[in-house]
Symmetry: C2
Subunit: 413 residues, 2 copies
């Protein structure tokens, strides 16, 4: 018996604080929004960060065939080491070595999607009560994962008037003794920005001066438009320790396959063996990503460059179309994207005074025009909405028309 | 400038306590063991809980074909809801409803392997400083996951002389105000035990009387030998709230594919919506298992029963062989398994006094006979070693011979 230990007369089961604190701001906000479309107009969804939903972006045949081969081979059904098979890690190492300093398979830790990679990277660097610095506007997963573990986040500003470059002074002002990482997302979701080498160097200098490691989310590496170049953070520093997170979901158009990685860049041995051991230990919690996709990685990662060029060309075409159409709509101010799959569009509250904020704006846009965009509140930012560049051209064009009608109706000169 | 905030003169990056506390006892122990084989004898590995390593257990053709079909279909590359696609959840619901009370897709939360399912189940029930009760001897993942999050574990004893049934008094004595779950693993790794209905009811009564939910790890459901039946915990209670964790890795012989699930059994609405909401939130951290495997689930789970019967027959044959041979070796005391893929073998230190513990025993067995088994210390238990039942028959027989030679050599009457 346990009398005295425990109230045994009635059930009282509650969900943990850990679960309660696992908070996805996009979900929470969208669930609370009033998003009833206009029944007279077909809905156009410009909100989904999944390039596969419309069918206009398809993975290359080689990507699919590589998994079929992995199944046929018959040797890829057992457990892998929790941080990934050596051949898969080697393939990732060769692949990312093109973008920056050479790494080898031992520097690569596979994960179940870039989300899990980010989870491992945050978890290995920060403990409850520590903090990490994350961009604003920014992808919400960093906050979700941190708060879930009792790690604090502080938001540094990115500046629309400077193509979303980081406000370096603001960034530096946030650093304190408990800051365990500067998170950079380049190219950016939700901004579609792509930092130039000089700006990356400036961020690295802040990291170096304050001795804070960089966690670089580079899942959109290489998805940059034709006249821009992607620079990885690791390619521009040999002294700042960097954990670079990536994955195949976006570039190879298979986000559901859940394959990501953390690459350790540590040429000055500042992370030393401790961080690597930590990543190995953390990987043992769920034992790594699907072995079929691991076995397919060498094939997937060697998909001909032409396939990616086609993807990029389509994204860029949509970006140009949107930018040209939206910039002449009174009250709107699109920020031209240079990479990734998104663009941010500002709206001028002085001229669109009916809408008290971007949530009100996007709700009414849905209600009147059946066009759905994410309000920038999802990214901890005000007065913008995000449009994805992955929607078929005809729908993108129709959406622009409706946005024009909407703004003309509500514009106050 | 941040002078005063932070020492900026030298790097000092350490891995988090979270990572340091993520401790896999098997890895830690095996890494420290002295396991150099006898160069004159070919190594026989009886330690690996992966049924696919020897090639004698192969997934059914339908299992493989279901994934090929999922790829060919072309519609399974995008994100799923983080807790799984409705069709996949429905397929799991139909599958587990055969073993117990009927559930529907809404009761199923998919995860990246049973490990991730267990992680979600522990995380949703317990916070740092809470505790969960876990079996001894027992599978180490519960401890790894709990300690990683600052959740305490308390071990309750299972009794070899009672076919590894739970010492119910000991179990109940451990319950206190901070106990958030009783973890049961049935059939068991490492014991190969399978509880009868009466014993399960007795455990449920302890849970009911103390108002503690059950976390049932039923990944070896149905892998029970011919004259035994599997009873799920949920089939024998309508009042105790139960989270049942499972997956396809073991029964369908594809542990690398990382597909598992938590099924919520809550007919009295004790978990209510809170635990379900918590599971949804937790699933948003890494966005669910591979969508190709999700799409293949209806096909995988409807694999003809004959395939499983063949698997079970092979396991049972090996179990019989091992049991019959080992029980007559002086100094050894195998406990007959009734399910799963493992058996525990005790050794009598009175008659094998050279070995101060099971680690010394298994090290020397490797050194002299090139046979490797896991010492029960990996499972927080003493004076046993674990043998897997998935090794090809000829190697199993050879291992028995060597064990006999070894024991005869060291036996003191
Ligand atoms: C910046 C960024 N990082 C990480 C992720 C997550 O990637 P994955 O789907 O591989 O987990 C996303 C997904 O949208 C993203 O936009
Ligand atoms: C009792 C038990 N539960 C859970 C697991 C983990 O299963 P999975 O490989 O699906 O993560 C194992 C693996 O050996 C196990 O023995």
């Amino acid at each position: 018996g346990t009398v005295g230990h425990r109230n045994t007369t009635k059930w009282d089961v509650r969900s943990s604080q850990t679960a309660n604190n696992t908070f996805n701001p996009i979900r929470a906000l969208v669930d609370e929004m009033d998003i009833r479309p206009n029944p007279e107009k077909k809905v156009i969804t410009l909100s989904l960060g999944d390039p596969t939903v419309f069918g206009n972006f398809q993975p290359a045949e080689q990507v699919l065939q590589s998994v079929v081969d992995a199944i046929k081979n018959g040797k890829n059904n057992g457990y892998s080491p929790s941080f990934g098979h050596a051949t898969a890690r080697d393939a990732v190492a060769a692949y990312v070595s093109v973008q920056g300093p050479e790494v080898n398979g031992g520097d690569v830790y596979l994960a179940s999607g870039c989300s899990d990679a980010i989870n491992m990277a945050i978890s290995v660097l920060a403990d409850p009560e520590d903090n990490i610095l994350i961009p604003r506007p920014g992808f919400s997963l960093y906050e979700t994962l941190s708060l879930s573990q009792g790690i604090h986040v502080k938001h540094y500003d990115c500046l629309p008037e400077k193509s979303w470059e980081v406000d370096l002074e603001h960034l530096e002002s946030l650093i304190d003794r408990k800051t365990k990482a500067i998170v950079v997302v380049n190219p950016s979701n939700p901004c579609g920005s792509n930092f130039n080498a000089e700006h990356i160097r400036a961020i690295l200098e802040v990291a170096e001066n304050n001795k804070v490691p960089i966690l670089a989310d580079e899942i959109y590496a290489d998805l940059v438009f034709h006249d821009k170049s992607f620079h990885s953070f690791s390619s521009l520093s040999s002294s700042v320790p960097i954990l670079s997170c990536g994955g195949i979901g976006k570039k190879f158009l298979v986000p559901g396959w859940r394959m990501g990685w953390v690459v350790v860049h540590d040429r000055n041995e500042i992370f030393g063996s401790e961080i690597r051991t930590g990543l190995v230990k953390l990987s043992q919690r769920i034992l790594g990503p699907c072995t079929l996709i691991q076995a397919a990685l060498p094939g997937i990662l060697s998909t001909p460059e032409a396939c990616h060029q086609e993807t990029i060309a389509k994204l860029e075409k949509n970006a140009d179309l949107l930018y040209e159409k939206l910039r002449i709509i009174p009250g709107l101010k699109p920020i031209k994207p240079e990479a990734a799959m998104y663009m941010m569009v500002g709206f001028d509250r002085n001229h669109l005074p009916e809408f008290k904020d971007e949530v009100a704006f996007t709700e009414r846009l849905m209600c009147e025009q059946s066009v759905f965009c994410l309000p920038s509140k999802c990214f901890k930012y005000s007065n913008y909405f995000r449009i994805v560049l992955t929607v078929p051209e005809d729908q993108t064009e129709e959406a622009c028309k409706r946005l024009e009608e909407f703004c003309l109706k509500h514009y106050k000169p």
